[in-house]
């Protein structure tokens, strides 16, 4: 079922055919299915099998791109020709040095046969099990359960040729009571590790607990942020300032502060696609092996991540963080990890005199990337903690918060961590207790 040879053949055909000075080819294929549910019913069930080939050609430092989702010989040649034609019309990029050369890549087994063979009926039965937990309580479930795999291959005319495959199972659900809601999620290479019973029981309890929320005034509060919220926040921080392009364009909050304290000493954030707790291929979208990059260690700024283009500007090595070309965002991390603390979250909550527990952020966005100010709403269960106990649900709040300032006020991180989807790939992160978090508005529910 996993036919890497198709991808290898496509890569070789494009590289062998191209007469450009340098050529890079990205080929993908995959099959992904998703079953969506709302109002306790499955309302959408989709499946897509597709493939693609993208060609980057360089002629006299002029770069062209073209792509197709047909991998027959004629279409591959036509796409290479189109890429070369486009390159000839472009202005040369004087700062371009070269595509990368081959380096050894470790292998990583990221395929679960159970995930690949998970059928629509299997997904439906899993969702039915979830409904069986929540419906008796007059709760309404909505969500999406997806399973599938992707094969990714990169080759270039300097000798790089590498192919990898990932399977992924991803369950997300929002369970709604009359006046409250709760969110649950789980993502894994292996669908067998998604525990529907545990997720169902957890969201059922939190949905029931979230009912009849009280009004609460906006203001500055201590907060307990769940791993979902922490993943969201550090992902925006990474987008704003961990990549070398942000540094080179003078946009990164870490800019000229390498070696200086930038956030609290409990905070360490790094990227490692090879960590057992992340889901990441061992190579980037230029076929360069992914390196572990420590961005912040004990609150001190340490390093940026690079692709070949940004690395060559500084005469350093690529760290293997290239995104698919054409890419205007520069290199970015897709497998963030944040250090845990030593205290279970239950014990951390007991230390709160008065704090707001946030289960999830919603519709977050960076308002000021240079000062790392982001905004968003709380959602799916926001609670007031008083005297060490979760006291009452409260209505959702809007926050407008400087992320660096928030991370400078981390009082505690939980010993537990979870892998969560983020705006950049995934993030394996703990709960966080933060001394001051700025809530600037409120809504009516």
């Amino acid at each position: 079922m996993i036919d890497k040879q198709l991808i290898v053949n496509a890569l070789k055909a494009a590289i062998d055919y191209s007469k450009a000075d340098q050529t890079e080819v990205l080929a993908t294929s995959g099959s992904n299915a998703l079953t969506r549910f709302s109002n306790n019913q499955i309302h959408q069930n989709v499946s897509q099998t597709n493939m693609s080939i993208s060609v980057r050609t360089i002629i006299d430092k002029k770069i062209g791109y073209a792509s197709t989702n047909r991998l027959d010989e004629h279409s591959i040649k036509k796409t290479v020709d189109k890429s070369i034609e486009i390159a000839k019309f472009k202005q040369p990029d004087a700062e371009l040095v070269s595509l990368p050369t081959p380096k050894p890549i470790v292998t990583r087994d990221l395929i679960s046969n159970e995930t690949i063979s998970f059928s629509p009926m299997d997904r439906a039965k899993a969702i039915q099990k979830l409904m069986g937990i929540v419906e008796p309580q007059n709760l309404t479930a909505a969500g999406a359960f997806s399973t599938g795999y992707t094969i990714i291959g990169i080759a270039n005319s300097l000798g790089i040729l590498t192919v990898g495959a990932i399977s992924e199972a991803d369950l997300k659900t929002v369970v709604m009571a009359a006046t409250g809601s709760a969110y649950g999620s789980s993502v894994s290479i292996d669908v067998g590790s998604i525990d529907i019973e545990r997720i169902g029981r957890s969201v059922k309890k939190r949905a029931l607990d979230s009912q009849n929320p009280s009004d609460i005034d906006p203001g500055v509060y201590p907060v307990i942020l769940s791993p979902d919220a922490v993943a969201d926040m550090i992902s925006f921080l990474a987008f704003a300032g961990f990549g070398a392009l942000a540094k080179q364009e003078g946009r990164s909050f870490m800019g000229d502060r390498i070696g200086q304290q930038v956030v609290g000493s409990k905070v360490s954030i790094w990227d490692n696609a090879l960590d057992e707790n992340t889901i990441g291929l061992p190579f980037d979208f230029e076929g360069v092996p992914k390196q572990k990059v420590v961005f912040i260690e004990n609150g001190v700024a340490k390093a940026f991540c690079y692709d070949s283009y940004t690395a060559q500007k500084e005469s350093v090595e690529s760290t293997g963080h290239a995104l698919p070309a054409p890419n205007t965002y520069g290199p970015l991390p897709l497998n963030l990890i944040m250090a845990s603390g030593n205290t279970p979250i239950g014990e951390i909550i007991k230390t709160c005199e008065r704090a707001i527990l946030v289960n999830r952020f919603h519709y977050t966005n960076l308002e000021d990337p240079i000062r790392t100010i982001f905004t968003g709403m709380t959602r799916d269960g926001t609670f007031l903690i008083e005297n060490g106990k979760i006291k009452t649900p409260v209505k959702n709040l809007r926050f407008t918060q400087n992320i660096v300032e928030a991370l400078s006020q981390v009082e505690e991180l939980s010993s537990e961590r979870e892998l969560k989807d983020a705006i950049l790939g995934g993030a394996y992160v703990p709960w966080a207790k933060i001394a001051e978090f700025k809530f600037t508005g409120a809504t009516q529910f």
């Binding site: 709302s38 959408q44 519709y363 966005n365 809007r398 400087n402 508005g441 809504t443």
Partner: protein, 223 residues
């Protein structure tokens, strides 16, 4: 979007505060606020001939004289409120399920001008070009930041302000609208990347608008 109202997007972007009971009786904005959907505007990004259920492109009211009067619907959803589809189902490609998507959603022109509106303001801001957006999961509390802004003092534009933002509650915000510029300053703005659905789909949509004035809006949030 009626599918949101019916809960079909609850696990992703959420639902809507515009529940069915509010149709034809809910004050969404001030009496000068008129918003329509029009998939027939020549050259606009949300224009097409037929939607993906084969329903012809149409023009219809959403907010009329400030009152909420209509949803964006589909053949799948319109019968719930005893209507026929008004042609808003689109998929972003051959391999995706059609969803209800905005077409060209327009704030209709009024009878003022930008210069006149500015001249009537004692103390305010002129904000231009949205750069970030955020709204809650029932579409009530929102916050947007813009690329640029200028102070307005005693009817005149003054200094440029840095990283302006503004926030509000949807019907309160539209309820505070007291002037909209006219046809001469009205144009359609295309948005090529409106996201919705699981798996994500990206739609081409557009918004026709002219400059408009809103009162007592909270700005400089968190600054």
């Amino acid at each position: 979007e009626f599918d949101r109202v019916l809960g079909m997007e609850a696990s992703f972007a959420g639902t809507s505060f515009l529940t069915i009971d509010k149709m034809s009786n809910f004050r969404y904005g001030s009496p000068i606020v008129n918003i329509n959907a029009d998939a027939t505007i020549p050259g606009a990004l949300g224009t097409f001939g037929y939607d993906d259920e084969g329903v012809p492109a149409q023009k219809f009211d959403i907010i009329k004289n400030g009152i909420f009067v209509g949803y964006l619907t589909s053949r799948e959803t319109a019968p719930v409120i005893g209507q026929k589809s008004n042609g808003c189902m689109r998929a972003d490609g051959w391999g995706k399920l059609p969803l209800i998507r905005m077409t060209n959603i327009n704030l209709l022109p009024g009878n003022s001008t930008l210069d006149q509106m500015i001249s009537e303001v004692k103390d305010g801001l002129y904000l231009a070009t949205n750069r970030s957006w955020s709204i809650d999961d029932k579409r009530l509390n929102f916050q947007f930041a813009t690329q640029v802004g200028w102070e307005i003092k005693n009817g005149k534009l003054g200094s440029m302000v840095k990283n302006p933002n503004y926030t509000g509650i949807t019907p309160d915000f539209w309820g505070s609208c007291d002037a909209i510029a006219g046809k001469k300053e009205w144009r359609v703005w295309g948005l090529p990347n409106c996201g919705k659905g699981e798996p994500m789909q990206v739609a081409h949509v557009a918004h026709g608008a002219a400059p408009a004035r809103f009162n007592n809006i909270k700005v400089g949030v968190g600054r």
